[in-house]
């Protein structure tokens, strides 16, 4: 059995890292904060972990913690600097963070290994430890999707003014999700660096942004489950599609475009729609009870990307 696990452990570990990457983008996105700072943090976390292991021989968990901490600190700085930006502008500014970091490490001389990066990063980090860490993060995220926190987060996304009027500290929510996204991104990068025993500036370029976005768009941007589905699909799909060779990327591109246009809430969203459709037809057979009009699931029943929710029921023009 250990042979089996050994054979696929690299892929399972890759899937866990991809899951964290997806979450690093999704956590801010769920609050309507278009921050891709998780990608730059991935690079920062990876390089930090690599450097402390190579130079100071720190054990794996400590190296990861340092990466997460540094990513978080930079995240705080970014959150402060970018607090007045929104939407696309915030998105591009946060991508610029990753872009600049990539150039800096590529020119970082002996410290960062320059364009070739750092190698020989050997620290003990087993599949069990990684799984436990990721599980903890997922549980934290799942908890934040329920109850008051969940509703506050959704409210900030849907209608910040209304949320503020209801007593939610909008600025604080946006700050927290941005920093949280950075920290999770830093964790993903650190784990990956130790797993692969090397890190290079090309590890966190534009293709990482596409991968991350693809995972949450196809899986579903609303919940952690979407991130999991997306991560699972895009870790194992390359293997499954090996026969297609170079045409794999064409398939990915078509998938992303198709999902963004026709199924903007991803697979989880589609499943959710199916569930609602079934329940609606089931409830038509019963007389309407007092709670029939309310949303059946715990998280706010609002559509992240289509911007429906309150607006849809009012039927705004255009």
């Amino acid at each position: 059995m250990s042979g089996v696990l050994g054979a696929n452990s690299v892929l399972v570990q890759a899937m866990l890292v991809n899951l964290l990457l997806a979450l690093s983008l999704q956590i801010p996105l769920r609050s309507g904060v278009f921050s891709f700072a998780g990608l730059g943090s991935y690079g920062l976390g990876a390089y930090t972990a690599a450097i402390v292991v190579l130079r100071f021989d720190h054990p794996a968990l400590l190296a990861l913690a340092e990466g997460v901490l540094l990513s978080g600190l930079v995240g705080v700085l970014l959150a402060r600097l970018l607090r007045r930006l929104n939407g696309l502008y915030l998105g591009m500014a946060s991508i610029a963070y990753g872009g600049i970091l990539a150039v800096v490490v590529a020119n970082g001389g002996a410290l960062t290994g320059g364009a070739e990066g750092l190698y020989g990063v050997v620290a003990d980090l087993g599949l069990t430890e990684i799984t436990v860490i990721v599980l903890l993060v997922v549980v934290a995220v799942a908890l934040s999707e329920r109850g008051r926190t969940g509703r506050a987060v959704a409210a900030v996304r849907e209608d910040p003014e209304l949320a503020a009027a209801m007593g939610v500290d909008v600025a604080r929510v946006r700050f927290v999700v941005l920093v949280a996204g950075c920290m999770v991104g830093g964790l993903a990068g650190g784990i990956n660096a130790i797993m692969l025993t090397n890190v290079a500036p090309t590890d966190f370029g534009f293709h990482l942004a596409v991968l991350g976005l693809t995972m949450i768009i196809v899986g579903g941007a609303r919940t952690w489950l979407g991130a999991l589905v997306g991560a699972a699909i895009f870790t194992w799909l390359p293997i499954a599609l090996q026969a297609l060779g170079d045409w794999r990327t064409v398939v990915y591109g078509c998938l992303v475009a198709a999902v963004a246009v026709w199924a903007p809430h991803g697979l989880i969203g589609l499943a959710g729609q199916a569930v609602r459709a079934v329940r609606r037809s089931a409830s038509r057979r019963k007389p309407p009870g007092p709670g029939a009009g309310r949303a059946p699931t715990g998280a706010a029943e609002v559509d992240l990307l289509a911007g429906e929710g309150v607006g849809a029921s009012v039927g705004r023009p255009m």
């Binding site: 050994g6 054979a7 070739e116 190698y119 020989g120 489950l225 699972a232 390359p238 060779g245």
Partner: protein, 391 residues
């Protein structure tokens, strides 16, 4: 599949279960080890080699080249009975240009227990990811290209490529004979072997050959617009220009260089070969570089490789990647014979023994320094359609 499932927790369970099932199935599919501790019995009927190289992606031209060279060698070895009744079998896996895929393919292969050795990737980042895995599992891996630090990290890592910075001085001698005293250098700063050449090897030429670097410009692997650095190069008025780039960037560069008015000699490295200058048309003619493999050489072992290659792939001339893939397999075959066993640990000892004496391969007379190849360089030049020995 998911749209049929109703509740969220159930969906979560199903995703996890599916993953675990996939893992189990993948694991159970692997075969039984052929290369166990049967040292007493000698070589088994088949010896399995795992090839992890880029068969798709940007570097596929090099990866596929190495695979083809390996196939020629395997065919030769099997049909000539070099290993007696034993046949070599190569399983091809595509690393697709990413370190992660390469690492996972190697891990998978090692865990299956089928393989005596791994034929490693071309790209340094992939090789660096595989090296510790192979070293830990005590399975020998023979890389080609992978010109950088962090690849040969232990006893089980080997390289069948002669790193060109080590033999590059032959170019300096030649330029000195031509009366060159100053050079301008333009190089891709993201490739380790180029950085080593530009910053360590070339500066020594002032002392050795009286050739001084008057200007040095760095570019990136994705640069297409060389007009600004070329401007700087020409402003310094060098006698000759050195250029180190990737793939067909060489062609683009030469067009722009000649258009800017530089008429002097241009020299480069292996990367300019493989037809990468063809895109420059007449502007690419005359670029020269030292290489470990010249298909037109009359060394017997090279000629026999070219003949065998052309029998398998009629109408094509082999390049250095193919020569290296060929030599890598022959190294392993000789080591197998020497060790008398397909056990990876015994094979490692065999590889070291063969390296100690050297042998003759596609790249001519091969000598080794540790686990690393050293070849005898020849200078070739591009004549517009092919590489020919430089006069």
């Amino acid at each position: 599949m998911f749209s049929n499932v109703k509740s969220a927790p159930l969906r979560a369970v199903i995703s996890v279960a599916t993953l675990m099932l996939a893992v189990v199935l993948a694991g159970c599919g692997s075969g039984v080890s052929d290369s166990g501790n049967d040292a007493a019995a000698g070589l088994p009927p088949t010896v399995n080699l795992l090839s992890v190289r880029d068969e798709t992606g940007v570097t596929a031209y090099a990866g596929l080249g190495a695979v083809r060279g390996s196939e020629v060698a395997i065919d030769e070895i099997n049909s000539s009975g070099f290993l007696g009744e034993t046949k070599l079998v190569m399983d091809r896996k595509d690393a697709a240009g990413t370190a992660q895929t390469a690492a996972s393919l190697a891990s998978e292969g090692i865990a299956s227990g089928r393989y005596s050795a791994i034929l490693g990737p071309i790209l340094a980042v992939e090789s660096r990811a595989i090296a510790p895995i192979a070293e830990k599992a005590k399975i020998p891996v023979v890389f080609t290209q992978s010109n950088s630090e962090g690849v040969l990290i232990g006893e089980f890592t080997f390289r069948a490529t002669a790193p060109f910075p080590k033999y590059y001085d032959v170019m300096g001698e030649r330029l000195k004979r031509q009366g060159v005293t100053s050079i301008g250098v333009l190089f891709d700063a993201q490739t380790a072997s180029y950085v080593e050449t530009a910053t360590k090897v070339l500066p020594e030429w002032e002392r050795k050959f009286g050739i001084r670097i008057v200007v040095s410009k760095e570019v990136q692997s994705n640069t297409q617009d060389f007009t600004a650095p070329i401007s700087s190069l020409l402003a310094a008025r060098p006698d000759a220009v050195a250029v180190y780039l990737l793939g067909a960037q060489h062609g683009t560069f030469m067009k722009q260089l000649r258009q800017a008015g530089f008429t002097g000699p241009v020299f480069s490295a292996n990367g300019a070969g493989n037809g990468n200058l063809a895109g420059a048309g007449p502007d690419g003619v005359g670029v020269s570089w030292p290489t470990a493999f010249d298909p037109s050489s009359d060394e017997a072992s090279t000629r026999s490789f070219v003949a065998a290659y052309q029998k398998m792939f009629p109408g094509k001339t082999p390049n250095i990647y193919e020569a290296e893939g060929y030599d890598a397999v022959w190294w392993i075959a000789r080591a197998l014979k020497e060790a008398g066993s397909a056990d990876p640990v015994a094979l490692q000892r065999g590889l070291v023994a063969v390296a100690a004496t050297g042998f003759e391969g596609a790249q001519g007379v091969l000598r080794f320094e540790g686990n690393d190849l050293r070849a005898t360089p020849k200078v070739v030049q591009w004549d517009g359609t092919a590489e020919v020995p430089a006069p």
